[in-house]
């Protein structure tokens, strides 16, 4: 018999790997290269190379890999699923292994090969919502302006870690950017990014399972980035192995499993012939012909502000700096509002040197001008302002509005697509009326196009330009980057050209903005006079796609990328008092110094990581803080918050020694409201009722390895930590009942809890191994009916405490219902009191609406405090909802907590009080809020109120939230002024 050679070809999302083995399993050939999506060509070349190297074309062959499946199907070749192939190779090469962690370009996997010492394959792959992959690391490296290898080297020298969300690129960026802008060290940020990848892998993939035993690391990122491996080692508390040939395990496994006979030369020919077809979903070309493109260009060239670099200019000048998330934009404007000089630079994580350069340059170039005003805006506005003594600063949304008015006085809609964010504002009666920012799960920003361009080997400008001439753009839909990655992958597989992919991406950026961020049903809903801006719109392809999608021509200023800075300059002019600006002059710049120090604030339990920037002359800027405490800036902070009040009330339910022993209550989800009830009930029965500790990041991590669904909401996921910490503290009984129904407040058609709140105890019961060591009471109870409650709770408790008498239960229940209503009553009365006080003092009031568990500082990330610092009284939805009678809404109104949202919205809408507004907090992954948010919005808008929604998840940085809230307050001030 001939010696048979086996060949495995692994086509991943970005790379191509091949392995050939002889009949003893010895390695004859291995090769690794990036395919830049030219899969068929590169694969054919590789097959020929194999045949040439091993000296024969007749082999047994199989394809594997995420991008290999489609090709295999199309050509009718044998396919081996890549995880299965990995396991095959791991077993044959390494023998007994317990766990394999494999990260790839776009996928992350954990393979559990054993279970309690028994062979049993269980695989966890990243789902639809996936960060923590190679692409994520690449994206983050781009953000730091380094290569992934450099990122690794930086991470080796870290001193401290920041918490960075890695579920989604958008999140992570919103964590990282402010860190950079505030001057955090790149080394620390780099290490934090890698740690985030590790946490994501553990939280998202390990779910209920412990990673232990003999652990193997595979795949590109883990092979090339030793610091990523040490991160895993550190966090898992073990030492994993990264074997030789760690990139080739999939290919090797495919080779070992290969059983269909092929001839490589013939197969290569088949691949040559498999000319990319044109059978993908497509949309309309951007331009029908060259004339159409020229007409388009001419039309847009008319919207201009001229830049005249006049060295002799001797009048007043106004400086505007937009320290954005990825770029710093600066404009020096003349008295006549023409531009003298501009700058548009990537900020590389720190805007300070760039602004310094800019100032030095303009002082040199225009020696005769006088800066009469300087304003900063954008993420880094505070830092720039304090570093260079600017006169003023303004929230970026207002800066954009100011600039847009200059080009289109009747502007009623502005859409700004920048590097990391999409901002849209609707303008009604001359004030900003409605603000949309991209939230947690929306992509489609400039950096997204850039990342794709880079991945495919093009510069952004070149890449976008190619889309102009696309004849058949790929229809990629409108969702998050991770989805988009696989859509692009699919399109490549289906043979789409670069031109058509480029155009398709431009269209998807636009669709994402319109349907996902703004959620308009059609173009008319936006407005009649639309100004588009932000660097992304400088791409004609994106601009054209936008006009096509909304069916209307729009205004794109020639300085689309500089509008924030230009608006800031206009604002500086408006605010100028006539004298000289306070901005550092030439001498000031010469003495300029900047030092950064990191400390941990111990002002409160948040323990924020602060970056302290010290400038010459003792000017300081402190970043990273959640509250104003460390900055000792008194400002106009208001200390009236119902959130504080409710937290105090709940903290008052302390443990009292009792004859029946300890009973633990996990302080999450519905216990934020039912604690008074159950605490009283069990205390009366003689239990010592122990609350789990206040939520924190580390409490979350305590239970994160037992989370069974990574897309559940953060408040639910926190429950695992609460339960674990109760068990760890030695509590032997935990009470966490299933409650299909909540209390009936009579305001809706039913009084359900949401499915997650109702049944999460079931998830805890079966997914947390330690729960089996204690007494876990998760019975189905009923609290809306006292009689029935007594029956059910008796059935729940009697098996464990047969001595509890009916009378005892009755008395305890009486007390519990009494306490519950007394608690609500206190909240209601406090709400009334704060409303009254606010009115007396003329203070603005924000109804911060959510669920009772949004009280948790780890869930709301201090948004309540932030609002207080912005000078408003904070009142929770439950404190005013009771004032409304039952009323009809346009949704099925059958959840107790959600019913309160509608009532609170109605109260605000009908108050006719411009100082009373509502902000809704929405937990990422909350399915019910997809329903409530639209309804709350429409109730508010019927009353002429601005709707503001804040999405919250594990993110800890409040930068974006702050912009949103400041914009709201700015808009309210403007509205107040207009009225």
């Amino acid at each position: 018999m001939n010696k048979e050679i086996r060949v495995g070809l692994d086509i991943g999302s970005t790379t191509l790997k091949a392995v050939a083995l002889d009949d003893t399993g010895a390695l004859l050939y291995e090769k690794y290269e990036r395919h830049y999506s030219m899969i068929t060509e590169k694969a054919a070349a590789m097959l020929r190379d194999i045949a040439a190297t091993i000296g024969t074309g007749d082999v047994r062959f199989a394809i594997s890999g995420s991008a290999g499946m489609g090709l295999a199907e199309r050509l009718g070749l044998a396919f081996q699923q890549e995880v299965y192939a990995t396991r095959q190779a791991v077993e044959s090469v390494l023998g007994d292994v317990d766990t394999v962690i494999e990260l790839g370009g776009e996928d992350a996997k954990i393979l559990f090969l054993t279970n309690n010492g028994r062979k049993d394959l269980e695989v966890r792959m990243n789902g639809s919502c996936a960060g923590g992959t190679g692409a994520f690391i690449d994206q983050m490296a781009t953000l730091l302006n380094v290569t992934p290898d450099e990122l690794n080297d930086l991470a080796a020298h870290y001193e401290k870690l920041y918490s960075v969300a890695s579920r989604c690129g958008v999140f992570a960026k919103s964590d990282i950017q402010p860190l950079l802008n505030q001057g955090a060290k790149k080394e620390d940020v780099a290490a934090s990014i890698l740690a985030a990848v590790v946490n994501q892998t553990i939280a998202g993939l390990a779910q209920g399972r412990q990673i232990a035993g003999r652990v193997v690391y595979l795949g590109g990122p883990l092979t090339f980035l030793p610091e990523l491996r040490s991160s895993f080692d550190r966090i898992l508390g073990l030492t994993g192995i990264c074997p030789d040939h760690s990139l080739y395990f999939v290919a090797r496994g495919a080779a070992e499993l290969a059983d269909s006979r092929v001839n490589l030369e013939e197969l290569a020919k088949t691949l040559d012939a498999a000319v990319a077809g044109n059978d993908y979903k497509s949309c309309k070309p951007l331009f029908a012909n060259e004339e159409e493109y020229q007409e388009f260009k001419t039309r847009h060239d008319a919207d201009r502000v001229e830049t005249v670099e006049d060295p002799g200019y001797s009048g007043k000048a106004y400086l505007g700096v937009d320290a954005g998330s990825t770029t710093v934009k600066a404009v020096l404007m003349r008295e006549d509002e023409q531009i003298l000089y501009t700058s548009y630079l990537p900020n590389g994580g720190n805007p300070v040197p760039l602004v310094k350069d800019f100032l030095e340059t303009v002082y040199r170039k225009f020696p005769n001008m006088t800066i009469a005003g300087a304003a900063s805006t954008g993420y880094g506005e505070d830092m720039v302002r304090s570093a260079f003594c600017f006169d003023t600063s303004l929230v970026e949304t207002m800066a954009h509005f100011a600039a847009a008015k200059k080009f289109q006085p009747d502007v009623d809609f502005i859409i700004d697509i920048g590097g990391q964010d999409i901002k849209c504002f609707q303008i009604r009666n001359g004030v900003i009326d409605n603000i949309f920012l991209n939230e947690a799960c929306s992509s489609g920003c400039g950096s997204f196009l850039q990342t794709f361009a880079g991945a495919l080997g093009y510069s952004i400008a070149d890449f976008a330009q190619r889309g102009i001439y696309a004849d058949n753009p790929v229809d990629l839909g409108s969702r998050c980057t991770v989805f988009m990655n696989s859509s692009v992958k699919q399109a490549q597989k289906d043979g789409a050209s670069i031109e058509n992919i480029s155009a398709g991406l431009s269209v998807s950026v636009v669709k994402n903005a319109i349907y996902k961020v703004i959620r308009a049903a059609n173009g008319d809903a936006l407005g009649k006079h639309i100004v588009v801006q932000g660097g992304t719109f400088l791409n004609d392809a994106v601009l054209r796609a936008f006009e096509q999608e909304i069916g209307r021509n729009v205004t794109r200023p020639n300085i689309a990328g500089l509008m924030g800075a230009y608006g800031a300059a206009l604002y500086a002019k408006r605010k100028a008092t006539g004298g000289k600006s306070t901005v550092l002059n030439v001498e000031g710049l010469a003495k300029f110094t900047h030092q950064v120090r990191n400390i941990t604030c111990n002002g409160c339990e948040n323990h924020c990581s602060l970056t302290i920037n010290t400038f010459d002359g003792g000017r300081r800027f402190i970043g990273g803080n959640r509250c104003e405490k460390p900055t000792a800036k008194k400002g106009n902070a208001v200390q009236m918050s119902l959130y504080d009040y409710k937290r105090q009330l709940l903290a008052g339910y302390t443990a009292q020694p009792g004859r029946r022993g300890k009973l633990g209550i996990p302080m999450g989800l519905n216990f934020f409201e039912l604690l008074p009830f159950f605490h009283t009930f069990f205390t009366k029965l003689g239990f010592e009722v122990i609350q789990s500790p206040v939520s924190s990041r580390s409490l979350y991590q305590l239970g994160q390895n037992t989370i069974s669904s990574d897309t559940a909401c953060y408040p639910a996921k926190l429950m695992h930590g609460h339960i674990q910490s109760l068990i760890d503290s030695g509590v032997e009984t935990i009470f966490y009942p299933c409650l299909t129904y909540n209390m009936d407040e009579g305001k809706g058609t039913n009084h359900y809890n949401c499915p997650v709140v109702a049944y999460y105890p079931e998830v805890i019961r079966v997914n947390m191994p330690d729960v089996r060591k204690i007494r876990f009471l998760s019975d189905y109870l009923c609290i809306h009916d006292k009689k029935q409650f007594l029956k059910r709770i008796a059935a729940c408790l009697h098996p464990h405490w047969p001595d509890i008498t009916k009378r005892e239960l009755q008395q305890a229940a009486e007390a519990a219902y009494g306490e519950y209503h007394a608690y609500l009553d206190k909240v209601h009365r406090k709400g009334e009191e704060y409303l009254r006080l606010a009115k007396e003092k003329g203070l603005p009031v924000i109804i911060l609406a959510g669920r009772p568990y949004h009280l948790d500082p780890e869930v709301n990330h201090g948004i309540d405090q932030l609002i207080g610092e912005l000078g408003a009284v904070v009142i929770s939805e439950d404190a005013i909802a009771w004032k409304e009678e039952k009323f009809p809404v346009n949704v099925l109104n059958q959840w107790t907590y959600h019913t309160r949202l509608y009532a609170a919205a109605k109260f605000v809408a009908e108050s006719h009080d411009p100082k009373l507004n509502l902000v809704q907090m929405v937990s990422f992954g909350c399915g019910l809020d997809a329903i409530t948010t639209d309804e709350v919005r429409s109730i508010l808008e019927r009353g002429g109120k601005i709707y503001t929604q804040i999405k919250i998840d594990e993110i800890t940085n409040l930068g974006a939230v702050r912009i949103r809230l400041r914009s709201l307050f700015s808009a309210l001030n403007d509205q107040g002024g207009a009225q």
């Binding site: 499946m69 489609g70 699923q81 995880v83 049993d120 394959l121 792959m125 639809s128 209920g208 229809d475 839909g477 409108s478 969702r479 998050c480 989805f483 696989s486 859509s487 992958k489 699919q490 597989k493 349907y515 996902k516 049903a521 059609n522 069974s708 669904s709 897309t711 639910a716 299933c738 299909t740 129904y741 058609t749 359900y752 499915p755 997650v756 049944y759 999460y760 079931e762 998830v763 079966v766 997914n767 998760s778 189905y780 009923c782 009916d785 029935q788 029956k791 059910r792 009809p888 346009n890 949704v891 099925l892 059958q894 959840w895 399915g927 019910l928 809020d929 997809a930 329903i931 639209d934």
Partner: protein
């Protein structure tokens, strides 16, 4: 819910559009509607336009089924095929604690947004939720139950024959034949008779048993999940066809069990939240009656050598071994119970399908997968999420992994013949 009412007068010249879900069942149901004077039409439109219409008019974070159903309806209204002033729409509404109860409201909102505020919406529910609920008579309900049991039987038998049939297309042809035959009978009140049911089911099973099949071992896959995504090919990227092409035999637990589940929940509710003795007695009788009909299907299938769903009481026990039966939102305990049932019936390779972000399935599907595996070590479970952004490649890749393991398990079984 506001919006125009569907009045008796409209029955005459209005077309009522219903999005498809389980094709066989819906054909029967449409037929019953027609026999009561409703001029209904099932929507089969699909493709990107449907998704786009959904994205346009429904909050994108809402569950995928809502997006697709409403997308289908909006697409139909915009197609020009129907006189929009003579068209009404019908959706079902369970009134449970899952957000799916809101579909009718979401549809109403979408209609208003699109300028179709004059189009009436009918709600198919038994919870008295909406003033526009379809009026039901008891015979109509019973006929509907019969329709569902016929649909389930055809689906069950077809799935067990099709991967093994010698002559390709035989099972599909027989399914169509029987569908046509039954449809021509539905008008008659005979359908209300248990004896007719028994006779028909037996005849169906006998016919399927006669189809020549090859004797071979196939990977057996069970599909559980959110009801729409589980059944509707539009919702699950044609999962059944994919599994067939991969050479699997598929078992999809029937729609009838979902009805049993909702009725059983009344019993559970009586115990948990209290009810009058009389009403409880009524609930017991209804469940008994429904179970009787279900047993006819089981018997017919088993008598002809097919695998039938478990005895309902056993399914209840299986569910209770993993999750509390008070868990009643979405597919609730039924879904967890079905995973156990499938594993026991030999369909241990289980796909749980759900729309992305499905709240109940965080609990009853993903949350219970671990404990099901502990109790049935042979269980090989994969969860697949569906939404407008998820691509087929990813979904199929994950299923293929599950199938690779399934094939390996099958090979092992063949090598070491069962000890029993």
């Amino acid at each position: 819910m506001s919006g125009p009412k569907f009045t008796e007068v409209m029955k005459k010249d209005y077309t009522i559009l219903i999005p498809d879900m389980t094709t066989i069942h819906f054909k029967f149901l449409a037929h019953i509607f027609r026999s009561y004077g409703y001029n209904v039409e099932i929507l089969y439109n699909q493709g990107q336009e449907v998704v786009d219409e959904g994205l346009k008019y429904v909050h994108n974070d809402t569950c995928y089924p809502a997006l697709l159903c409403i997308g289908q309806m909006m697409d139909a209204l915009h197609s020009g095929k129907y006189d929009v002033h003579k068209t009404a729409l019908l959706l079902s509404q369970t009134g449970g604690g899952c957000r799916a109860s809101n579909y009718v409201c979401l549809l109403r909102k979408a209609l208003d947004k699109a300028g179709f505020d004059f189009v009436p919406v009918l709600s198919l529910n038994f919870a008295g939720l909406d003033e526009n609920a379809v009026p039901f008579t008891i015979p109509m309900v019973i006929k509907a139950m019969m329709a569902v049991i016929y649909g389930d039987t055809l689906m069950l038998l077809r799935n067990q024959v099709i991967p093994y049939e010698v002559e390709k297309g035989a099972a599909d042809r027989l399914t169509e034949e029987w569908t046509a035959r039954l449809l021509s009978n539905f008008r008659s009140t005979q359908l209300l008779s248990r004896r007719t049911l028994r006779r028909n089911l037996n005849a169906i099973a006998a016919d399927f048993a006669k189809i020549p099949v090859r004797d071979e071992q196939r990977v057996k896959v069970g599909v559980v999940g959110e009801i729409y995504v589980k059944y509707a090919a539009l919702g699950n990227n044609n999962l059944e066809q994919f599994l067939y092409e991969q050479g699997c035999e598929t078992m999809v637990p029937g729609l009838y069990d979902f009805i049993m589940y909702t009725m059983q929940n009344s019993l559970e509710d009586d115990a948990l939240y209290g009810n009058s003795k009389w009403k409880h007695f009524l609930h017991v009788q209804i469940v008994k009656f429904l179970n009787g009909i279900r047993n006819e299907m089981r018997k017919a299938a088993m008598d002809h050598g097919f695998t039938a769903p478990s005895e309902f009481s056993h399914l209840l026990d299986l569910a209770a071994s993993v999750i509390g039966r008070g868990c009643k939102m979405g597919e609730g305990w039924l879904l967890s119970g079905e995973m156990m049932e499938l594993a026991e019936l030999g369909y241990a390779n289980i796909i749980t399908v759900q729309p992305f972000g499905c709240l109940p399935n965080h609990i009853v599907a993903k949350g219970m997968a671990r404990t099901v595996k502990e109790k049935c070590p042979q269980a090989n479970i994969v969860a697949i999420d569906y939404d407008p952004g998820a691509t087929r490649v990813n979904q199929e890749n994950r299923i293929k992994l599950m199938l690779s393991i399934a094939r390996e398990n099958l090979k092992q079984q063949e090598q070491e013949p069962a000890l029993v």
